[in-house]
Symmetry: C2
């Protein structure tokens, strides 16, 4: 893949991701993008999501629910997964990126990146169950 060529599908996937504040799985992206390109292939969705992630334009999130989630917001922030409704949401919290240096202190390798996932019950599910 020497020269990267433009594709409507990829552009559409990028724009769609940017427009949502949630963190859809490949399947959710596929369902959404089919409204614009009814016969886009799921393989195309996977390929372009991986490509965009490689290029650093989006982020791949592994929250441990069996499938990958994608996030167009590449600025450093952390996520919360509700064990009740399974939503993956952004956490509004003060910067804790210093943990990277904390981790590096007694480690002889190079730490390039990190991800923090919080788990529990979200506000909505909490109010429903009470």
């Amino acid at each position: 893949m020497a020269v990267r060529k433009y594709s409507r599908q990829r552009e559409s996937i990028r724009e769609m991701l940017l427009s949502r504040k949630d963190h859809p799985t490949a399947d959710a992206v596929y369902a959404d993008i089919r409204k614009i390109y009814p016969n886009i292939s799921l393989g195309t969705v996977y390929r372009n999501l991986s490509l965009l992630a490689e290029l650093g334009e989006i982020k791949k999130l592994s929250v441990g629910d069996g499938s990958e989630h994608y996030d167009a917001d590449t600025t450093p922030h952390n996520h919360f997964t509700c064990r009740c409704c399974h939503a993956v949401i952004d956490l509004d919290m003060e910067d804790v990126s210093s943990i990277k240096e904390t981790a590096a202190k007694r480690f002889d390798g190079d730490i390039e990146d990190y991800s923090i996932n919080f788990y529990g019950v979200c506000g909505i599910c909490k109010s429903k169950s009470s």
Copy 2:
């Protein structure tokens, strides 16, 4: 499943996990346990790993490499994944569990747990490549 019954296989899986300091996948556990129980089923391994995780006796780790890893050390600690040799190792670092409270400050749900994964190049791979 009212009364849980003893099983040699489950006990063997637990002991095996306790004896290793790495964080094997179900498949790695299967390969190892077959040395003792040559015709144990992969399904049995999965079922018991899930069961032990539910009981809180082991921890399931999602590091984003496509498969789950298992850790018999349930005390709070963090992990590092080498993007070179793909090893998942424990990080010896000072306690950062206060991030749980930091995250809770501006959040209306309940935060029950969290996991931190660090990524980069481990010491061994680093020395090899230089």
